[in-house]
Every structure is written in C-alpha cells, then in structure tokens.
Amino acid sequence: MLFFGLAYELRWSVLWTEGHGGWILEGILTTLKLSALGWIIACLLGMLFGAMRTAPVRIVRWAGAAYVECFRNVPLLVWLFFWYFGAPQVLPQSAQEWLNRHGAEFWSAVAGLSVYHGARMAEVIRAGIQSIPRTQFEAAVSTGLSVVEAYRYVILPIALRLIIPPATNESLNLLKNSSLALTIGVAELTFMTRQIETYTARAFEALTAGTLIYLVLCLGIASVMGQVERSFRIPGLIARVGGAEH
C-alpha cells in the first residue's frame, strides 16, 4: 500500500533521541505559559468589555463595541506582527532595547493573543449577560446596589456560569492559536515539532506528535472546564445540563 505515494518507514524514536524530547517539553511549557497568560488577560478584558457592551450608559456601550470590533476583525496573525514589529516602534529607544532584552517575542505574542481573544471573549460574556432577564438587574438595583455592584454581585456571577460552554470553546481556540506565535520567533510547541522535523526530516512522526499533544492538552482543558461547570452550577437555573443523564 502507498502512503502519500511513496515509501516511508516510520521511526518514532526521533521524538525522544538526541535531546528532542527536551525540545518537546520546552515547547509544551512555552505553549502553556503563553496560553495561560493570554487566557487570564483575555478573560479580564472580556469581562470588562463584555459588561461595558451591556451597560446602561450609551458612551460606555460604544467604547465596549469599539474595542470588540477593532480587535476581533483583524486576523490574529496581523495582530502578532503588529505587536512585535509595529507597536514597539513608537516607544522610546531605551524602552525598545529593554523589551528586546526581556523576551519581546513572547510578550508580543501574549499581547496579540489576549487582545484578540479578549474581544471574542467579550462577545461571549455579553451574550451571557443579555440572556439574564432585565428584571434581575432591576431587582438588584432596587435593593440599593449601584450599577457596578449589581454587575459585580448579581449579573456577572450568573453570566459567567452560563457561558462556560462557549468560553471553553474560546479557551481551546486560544490554546490552538498560540501556535501562530512561531511566526514571530517564539519557540512554542508547533515550533519545536517543526524543529524536529527539519532536523530529522521525519515530518510524519514530528507532526503526529504535535497533533496528539494539542489533542491531549485540549481534552484536558475541556474536562477541567466541564468539572468547573458542574461544581459551580446554580441548581434550578442552569442545572438542566444534568438532564441528559436521565
């Protein structure tokens, strides 16, 4: 039988011999670090701007919408190039040099990932907030809470629970999109698998390893998020998710 129309003998040992195992581990660590930082910032940005898009003040809503439209409508790759090659250009020389000595590649990637996914996360959170009946907000305000307090103590806690499934989706996308960071010289997981591929010319083995590692990472995150969803659900409000068991 033919595979890609040519003879090809598999040699999986290239994945761990000659220090390649160390490369893969380093790649996984960088990918996780990049994604975790990106995720935390994206969530904070998402909560802020998602809430702003539903605020009762028009100018605040506009500011939220401006952020979302600006950052989600430009390809992530362009944002990465922008934060790495573009943005530092306007900084003073000394700041640029400082950045270059302290991993400009990595932090540009964190910036790119978090603002892009922050915008997408904001839409998810807005959808969550808007699915809560307006009366809930009115009731909260009528108890004497300020608008910010009503969001902080009533609306967001419910919305954040409601949006766990789409937010899981976004988080997985963020992890997978972190692979684009290789274009600006960040040695993350995809970079490392390609590195092995170029050193050994074993494309099938190297890329299969990369595929499986992403799969495992994503399944891991999805199961953690599932756990979070179950343990934080509000009985009677979103407990319907358990209905499938019956």
């Binding site: 039988m1 033919l2 595979f3 890609f4 129309g5 040519l6 003879a7 090809y8 003998e9 598999l10 790495y84 090659f85 530092p88 250009q89 640029q96 040099e97 270059n100 400009a104 590649e105 290789l182 274009t183 600006i184 010289g185 040695a187 970079f191 390609r194 590195q195 591929e197 170029t198 050193y199 010319a201 494309a203 099938f204």
Partner: protein
C-alpha cells in the same frame, strides 16, 4: 443509528490510515519522470525571498538564478519525454521543502538548499551549483566582527537552515531567535531586535543589496560553515537525477551556466558576487567526460 454508522466510518478511516502507514516501505512508487509524463507538469519548489536565487522582483515576477537553471532542466525533460510539459513553481522554505518533496507536491527543490550528509538520508542531491558559507549580517559599525563575538548576543536565524543548527550546537552562549522566514528575521534585525542575522554569505549579500539602505549593513566574519547548494529530489531515482546532473554539466561545459551567473551575480546583476578561482575550478571539475 446514525451515530453508530458514523462511528464505524471513523474506525474504518483510522484502520485504513493505520494500514497504509503499516504498508509503507514495501511500496513501489512511480519514478519522477513517469509522474511528470503522466501529469504533464514539472513542479519545482523554490524561494520567494532569497535574491538572486529565487525571489519576486519589482515587476512582481518570480525569477532567480536557481529558477533559470531549473528551466534548463525543464527543457531537458521536455526533450527526453518528447512532449511539452507545463513548468510550475511552488514556494518552499527550509522547513517545508523536504516534506513537499516527499509528499510528491514538488518534483525538484531548486532554491538555496545546502547539500549535507544527514539530508542525504532523506533526499538525493544534484551536483553543487553554487558554493558559499555562513556569515553574519550586522548594522554598520557593530562590535560583532564574526562568530567569536556572538556570546550573549541575540542572533537571528532561519528555521531549518544549516547555520541555525551550527549556532545552536556550537555556540550555545548566543541567544538564538529563530524565524520561519527571512523577511521577518531581517525586519527584526533592522528594528534592533537582533544584534546579527546569520545565513549563507551570498544570501546576506542578496538581503543587503535589496535593503532600502544597502550602505548601512555589513557582512562580517569568515565563513564558519561550508554551504554547497544542490538541487534536491526524491531518493533512489537515478534516471531523474542523471537528467538534472547532465543538464548542469552541459550548462557548465557549454557556458550557459556562466552567462546566467553573470546575469545574476555580475557587476550589473542583482547581487554582484564575482566567482572566486577555487569555486570556478571546483565547478569545472564536477563536469565528468561525455
């Protein structure tokens, strides 16, 4: 039911995939010449940003020294097959070229690929059609004068290139930053994100010639590697390899090679780079008698 059927489909897919992987090694694929004859297309992988070997010029045409040489190979193939064959170019980078070749997406790599013993494990090479060595590109006046000065400095390289590997293995004190393509690395260098960019001397000369301000750049250091460029093809296809090699030998013997060399590397060429005496002698001696 639907669910079960699709499940079975998935299992079947994996089994087929597994079997095909298992079955490799016993395959007898068609030769490159047969493939070209059958499809009527000769596909070559080359560079888009490595002047003057393969690059997009100001008129937006894909041209270069390697491309001109491979056009000679195309003519030989047409003569051999006795019919007109379509000539197609595809972009290949150091990271993608071997997979492109192995998968059959291209039939020949003619760019700036260094012939090495370890690469010969996966592909076959033609004669050497250009010889150069790795150096460093730095801003004029940089304290870096060669590889001896790169400890602690940020050195850019291209992923999958031979010099990236040498820096990684022999100069671990240097901070290596690896980019998938040359334009990104050069922008990073121009912006001061890198202290030096390393590649083969001739490629650096090409980059320098193409830069907005060629006088602001310097190519420094002795060759710290030997980089003989060859065209790469799928392994164990000696008929095809003979076509490529004979074409190159005839071009060197008949002088077309030197006309092309002058077109690209002459004083009025894209990247002026006079041929040294040893390189000339080496090229001529690669030509075996008829």
């Amino acid at each position: 039911m639907v669910c079960r059927r699709s499940m079975r489909g998935v299992v079947l897919l994996w089994v087929t995939l597994g079997l095909s992987v298992w079955g490799v090694g016993h395959a007898s694929a068609e030769t490159t010449l047969e493939k070209i004859g059958r499809t009527g297309v000769f596909t070559v992988g080359t560079r888009t940003a490595s002047p003057p070997f393969g690059f997009i010029n100001k008129q937006n045409e894909w041209v270069g020294f390697s491309i001109d040489l491979v056009k000679l190979v195309h003519a030989t193939i047409e003569k051999k097959l006795g019919k007109s064959i379509k000539f197609e170019l595809k972009e290949s980078t150091p990271a993608t070229r071997i997979p492109l070749l192995s998968s059959g997406a291209v039939d020949l790599i003619a760019g700036t690929m260094t012939d090495t013993r370890s690469r010969r494990d996966s592909v076959d090479f033609s004669l050497t059609f250009f010889a150069t060595g790795a150096q460093l590109l730095v801003k004029k006046g940089s304290p870096i004068r060669g590889v001896k000065d790169i400890a602690g400095k940020r050195i850019g390289a291209q992923q999958g290139s031979t010099n990236e590997r040498i820096i990684r293995e022999k100069y671990p004190q240097a901070q290596l930053v690896v980019f998938p393509d040359q334009p990104a690395a050069f922008t990073a260098l121009a912006q001061g994100k890198l202290d030096a960019y390393t590649n083969d001397g001739i490629q650096l000369a090409g980059l320098k010639a193409k830069a907005p301000n060629p006088g602001g750049w310097e190519i420094v250091g002795e060759f710290y590697s030997y980089e003989p460029y060859g065209m790469a093809m799928r392994k164990n296809d000696s008929d095809f390899r003979a076509i490529v090699n004979n074409t190159l030998m005839e071009a060197i013997e008949g002088g077309e090679y030197f006309t092309l060399y002058d077109k690209w590397f002459g004083l009025k060429g894209e990247v002026p780079y006079p041929m040294s005496e040893p390189v000339l002698a080496f090229l001529l001696m690669q030509v075996v008698p008829k």
